[in-house]
């Protein structure tokens, strides 16, 4: 395969198709509409299903319906659309069917704006719908990584029969980079045994999230939690840069993770032993590794395009074993290397005095 210059939204859409996406249902919203536009032509070319829904509510419930038939299906959206989809996400989680949703986060709350943001971290990792559940949340930091994560997302969704979210931001969706697409895969022919496909020569299949008997619902919930515990144990992913000898640790994901890589390199050039941990799964969160690093470093700086959402998970993970400071930009502003470097110097100075 060869590298091509690809826009993030087009790249993840084409990658999903090549990973055997059988159906896409979506509703246009900036900054991810190029994905829907791309698939509107490509899915039909490949003889697959594309449909522009009447709303995000419609889209997620079409996804839910198709997923009940055991096909690879997805949608993509951005903040306000994701809020609308939460109803469906909860039903999907309760029904334990595999679904992949991409959220290219934009500035909020409300209509906010269409610039890159990470303000939906809580929404995606903790409150993706009513009831007790957690989706797997993947966080790509480049066009290549979101391409690769589409395949991983479908595999994880189907392996665990669970919801997988991809937490992108407007920058990942809008920027163009050279990247390599996967080879073309056909759609799967066979449907899983649990799927709703017509009860020909077998007992009827039922997919529901309704359990009126509280004992039964508690049982279902404990089974769900047991599955999540397995995911928590086995599916944590993060990328570390120069952590082996680090005195200070930057923690950031997605676009901000890349910015922090530049910050780290500049600081290293100036003799500061800085490392970077970039979570690739926001849930499950790399808490064990952070706790280990908390015993090694003088302090951590969490950087986000939010008022400090992942920050709470970092603080929870390190259990007060090391000082945790925060630098964030809001409203669709992407932090600059110099701003983060200044925050890092402040952490360095304050933690040097402490020691």
């Amino acid at each position: 395969m060869v590298k091509e210059l690809l826009k993030g939204n087009v790249a993840f859409a084409e990658a999903a198709l090549r990973y055997g996406l059988e159906a896409y249902f979506g509703y246009p919203i900036t900054p991810q509409s190029e994905a829907l536009e791309h698939l509107s032509g490509r899915m039909l070319e490949e003889g697959r299903v594309f449909l522009q829904a009447e709303s995000e509510l419609g889209a997620i419930n079409m996804v839910y319906g198709a997923a009940c038939s055991g096909v690879r299906v997805m949608t993509s959206t951005s903040g306000p659309g994701f809020s609308l989809m939460e109803e469906g996400l909860s039903y999907i989680a309760g029904s334990e069917i595999p679904v992949v949703v991409v959220n290219m986060m934009r500035g909020g709350p409300g209509l906010g704006n269409i610039q890159p943001s990470q303000g939906d971290y809580f929404l995606m990792t903790k409150t993706a719908g009513h009831g007790d559940f957690r989706p797997i949340v993947l966080a790509p930091a480049s066009v290549q990584e979101i391409i690769d994560m589409m395949g991983l997302a479908f595999d994880l969704a189907e392996k665990y029969r669970t919801l997988v979210l991809i937490a992108g931001d407007g920058a990942i969706g809008q920027m163009m980079e050279s990247a390599e697409l996967p080879p073309m895969q056909p759609v799967r022919k066979e449907r899983p045994a649990w799927a709703v496909t017509g009860a020909q020569d077998r007992d009827m299949n039922l997919i529901t999230s309704l359990y009126l008997n509280p004992d039964r619902l508690e049982e279902v919930n404990w089974r769900l939690q047991a599955k999540l515990a397995v995911i928590r144990e086995n599916e944590v992913r993060c990328k570390e840069y120069e952590t082996a000898d680090a005195d200070l640790l930057l923690v950031a994901y997605g676009t901000v993770g890349r910015i922090c890589l530049s910050v780290m390199r500049e600081a290293r050039a100036q003799g500061l032993k800085v490392g970077l941990l970039r979570p690739q799964t926001l849930w499950p969160f790399p808490e064990k590794r952070l706790l280990e690093l908390a015993g090694q470093v003088r302090g951590m700086l969490v950087v986000e395009m939010s008022a400090g959402q992942m920050l709470e998970d970092v603080e929870r993970a390190v259990r007060g074993k090391t000082p945790v400071q925060f630098y964030g930009r809001l409203g669709g502003i992407v932090p600059l290397v110099d701003e983060v470097a200044a925050a890092l110097r402040k952490l360095d100075e304050e933690t040097s005095q402490e020691k």
């Binding site: 159906a23 889209a59 419930n61 319906g65 198709a66 009940c68 017509g198 039922l206």
Partner: protein, 263 residues
């Protein structure tokens, strides 16, 4: 129809328990017509020989447990979203028969957008729409189809259109939509009307199977419990009060649908 029954050779099976129904008691109140309409749908599925290729979508409301009574593959939708779920199911299973079974709160209030747009797309699904002018499961509150003056637990002095709006006529609305092929209103209030409703449901399934467009059968139904009536009086009320407010008949029937042979 259940072909397992042992019938003497010189006799013909003319009536039996539909194969598309499960042999359990329903949770429906005495005098409620959900059970009747379930049976009509099941008989149609049997007669068309589609039990193994049919997928049902259950609503939220009294029929939320419909999947316990139908012996076909089923999914349970969120409130009002059955037509969207059915769309997803049908698009990836174009060779299957997909139907939604929805009440008036589900279809005419919270799910208005989903049903209108399913019809607009001419989605090849069949909708059975139960209109009893009240929210049954949540305890008798005003429905979008509640008649002016009707007392409910959320219109204690009667529905005042100035405060609470007017009843919505979904069949009339859906009939205006280009993607609709067959839109009809029936009732389940006596034997002739029930038999007529069954033929309409059969035509609506055939409309889908022949790829002719979206089909919806509204069935005016009873809710003796929340109407505070005995079953007989409820049946009479459907005929005397509900049917005049929601006139029966075929509101949209394309020539192709008309040409379908419905026995």
């Amino acid at each position: 129809m259940n072909t397992q029954t042992n019938i003497p050779e010189d006799m013909e099976l003319v009536y039996g328990f539909p194969e598309a129904l499960t042999e359990v008691s329903t949770h429906y109140c005495p005098g409620c017509t959900h059970g009747v309409v379930h049976r009509l749908v099941a008989e149609v599925i049997d007669e068309l020989g589609i039990r193994g290729t049919t997928i049902g979508v259950a609503p939220v409301g009294c029929a939320v447990l419909a999947y316990n009574y139908f012996n076909v593959d089923f999914v349970e939708a969120a409130h009002g979203r059955a037509p969207a779920m059915a769309t997803g199911l049908k698009r990836v299973n174009p060779d299957k028969v997909v139907f939604t079974y929805q009440g008036d709160g589900d279809l005419a209030a919270i799910g208005t957008a989903e049903i209108i747009h399913a019809a607009t797309r001419g989605e090849l699904i069949t909708t059975v729409f139960i209109n009893n002018a009240i929210y049954g499961m949540t305890g008798g509150q005003m429905a979008p189809t509640t008649l002016p003056g009707m007392i409910t637990t959320s219109t204690p002095t009667g529905r005042d259109p100035i405060l609470a709006g007017y009843p919505v006529k979904m069949t009339e609305l859906l009939a205006q939509i280009a993607g609709s092929a067959y839109i009809t209103r029936q009732m389940a209030a006596d034997v002739p009307s029930i038999l007529k409703a069954k033929r309409a449901i059969k035509r609506a399934f055939l409309t889908q199977m022949h790829g002719l467009g979206f089909a919806c059968v509204e069935v005016l139904s009873t809710c003796p419990t929340n109407w505070n009536m005995d079953p007989w009086k409820a049946m009479e009320w459907v005929k005397e009060t509900l049917a005049p407010a929601y006139p029966l008949g075929d509101y949209k029937m394309t020539d192709e649908v008309k040409a379908l042979e419905v026995r």
